[in-house]
Symmetry: C2
């Protein structure tokens, strides 16, 4: 019997609602497939935790999380309780950076039955590979001067090592897919970082003569997601650009409530972390209408990157069968509650 | 007779094709309305100019441009000839920064007859106010170390002065419109610059109790443009975020070929500059199918900010009558050529 030890962090807002749903699904998956079991331990790290303890997690929090095979996260952040830069740098970004989860994989794919927000979406199936540890997400910088003369300086730091790694993964993925890598750049505006990014991309691209490659500026590329999503395959972007593009991708999928993501540790020293793309959505908390698919699709990625690719594919097929038959929450235009969508997924896992 | 002295810079690619179209329209506008005339002088500053002269403009280029009431720009950049960071920092960004065009105004509005790329666009009418002189577009930074250890550092510089100015303009605009200002932030990820941005926004917002205000993270906001565009009014963003959102806005308008923009100098020391949001589109050069509406709508903004608001409104009505009747280039799903669309606009200006 293979046991996966999972640290679950429901976090804030709808994170607390959808996490039990995804766990219900994973338990069912294990039961149906046999040979696999989950041990979950829940950690209450969140903005509420901060309000009680003055920190997003205890001193030994990272140590404790490091004992697990994977971290399964709901959503973090509730600016009405804790400023976002405190809550995120104290939990989500802390885990990504300290656990060296340098790659974030974010699929954007139109599931059957879902009405895309686009008038003519055709079939798109994009994977965003996001550099996940540096770039625009750096805590280096500060402020100087007073009153109206005040300025803030923010340092973005791009390393060739992490940039190459993200791009290599993008080319690897593309070689198993449609064979196209699109690099998100902004070398026309961002003077130092982005020409550096482009040079590295051209170098990696030249080593993959059988994969098509192209660079598009982030503004034009975000627009391209809307106008020509079916022409994209694998998109590689910096921390910020990957962040933006994956939300744009989620929107054209029909709702940011469905998009999944995997924060991958590649050196084997720490766990990887799996979390949906959406946020904690304080406005719909308590209504029972949060879309569980983002967290459940994320559970699929957790299975995939824990060596269970077949079981993972089966789960995605079941999710898609459920959307195809119209079991959807209101964000997708459906009339079902969160738990009803999950129930339907669980029911079909049995078959 | 009021004379407007305009420096026209067609630039690269389709810029050279659409500039004469917009000038034809402006000449017609002057003829129809009387009391107004244009003097145009064309400047060949472009990537081709760079290939001949080793610079995007001559030493006295800025001096010469500074003599005009406004600069009217087509599109700049052709990476097959000159790296983008050279061509843009040598022309477009140089003009914006040296002429202290600290504000960029970019409307995104659905014109009649145009099929938005969205399945349910409803009526949206958004103005993006973009800080246009600093932030992520800074030439401070550089590289260190060698081979795979190389890193690039990019400094973003945000001043309270320019940030406040952009926000104040956003609130002013909102007071004449639906009364909502949305701030594009990313204070959950961008540690120094964006919490600074948010603080300033909250300060300005508190001085405008009659205007509703909200902050949204750039990733969620880009998605929101797709899922709920009709709920936005005025959006204020940093240089980069304004850049990205205005292209997303252009895409949901139906094509990035139609969106206009105004780079405003507010201290009266230098000319303002008017340019469409789209780029030089090398792939469609020479086919006669470039959409002239971006440049013509930009001409409308040139009129507006040169004290001719009524004439400007009339021009926009004519543009919309033309799209409403289906005269559109292929990017909008139409079958007309660039010149045919312009001809139709000119014909209707006569009436
Ligand atoms: C060409 C480029 C430097 C420019 C920008 O990023 O500002 C363009 O995208 C724009 O939106 O005007
Ligand atoms: C919450 C926030 C810091 C985070 C990010 O920007 O990475 C989120 O938007 C995401 O996409 O995972």
């Amino acid at each position: 019997m293979k046991t996966l030890n999972i640290a679950s962090i429901p976090g804030d807002g709808v994170g607390k609602e959808i996490m039990p749903e995804a766990i219900r699904v994973l338990e069912k998956v294990a039961q149906v497939h046999g040979g696999l079991q989950f041990k979950f331990e829940e950690f209450p790290y969140s903005c509420d935790y901060y309000l009680k303890h003055g920190a997003m997690m205890p001193e030994d929090g990272m140590d404790r999380l490091s004992q697990f095979d994977s971290v399964f996260l709901g959503a973090v952040g509730d600016a009405s309780k804790v400023p976002d830069h405190i809550s995120l740098w104290g939990l989500l970004l802390k885990i990504r950076q300290e656990f060296q989860q340098e790659i974030n994989i974010r699929p954007a794919k139109l599931l059957k039955g879902i009405n895309s927000k686009l008038s003519n979406p055709k079939d798109f199936d994009i994977i965003v590979v996001r550099e996940n540890s540096e770039g625009e997400y750096s805590s280096i910088g500060g402020r100087i001067f007073h009153d109206d003369n005040e300025i803030a300086i923010q340092n973005n730091v791009f390393s060739k090592r992490a940039t190459k790694q993200a791009m290599n993964i993008a080319f690897d993925l593309a070689s198993k897919r449609k064979g196209l890598v699109t690099s998100a750049t902004k070398s026309n505006g961002i003077f130092h970082a982005m020409p550096f990014w482009d040079e590295i991309f051209d170098e990696i691209a030249s080593k993959h003569p059988n994969i098509k490659s192209e660079s598009k500026h982030i503004d034009a590329l975000a627009a391209y997601f809307i106008t020509h999503p079916h022409e994209l395959d694998v998109v590689v972007g910096s921390n910020l650009f990957g962040d933006i593009l994956s939300d744009v991708g989620a929107a054209i999928m029909g709702s940011i409530g469905i998009a999944p993501s995997a924060n991958l540790n590649l050196n084997g020293k720490y766990p990887s972390m799996f979390e949906p793309v959406h946020g904690s959505a304080p406005d719909i908390v308590g209504k029972g209408i949060a879309n569980p698919i983002g967290q459940i699709w994320t559970a699929k990625m957790l299975l995939e990157f824990n060596g269970e690719a077949n079981i993972a594919e089966h789960l995605l097929k079941v999710i898609e069968a459920v959307t195809a038959d119209g079991f959807m929450t209101p964000d997708l235009g459906g009339k079902y509650k969160m738990t009803e969508v999950t129930d339907e997924i669980i029911k079909r896992l049995d078959k």
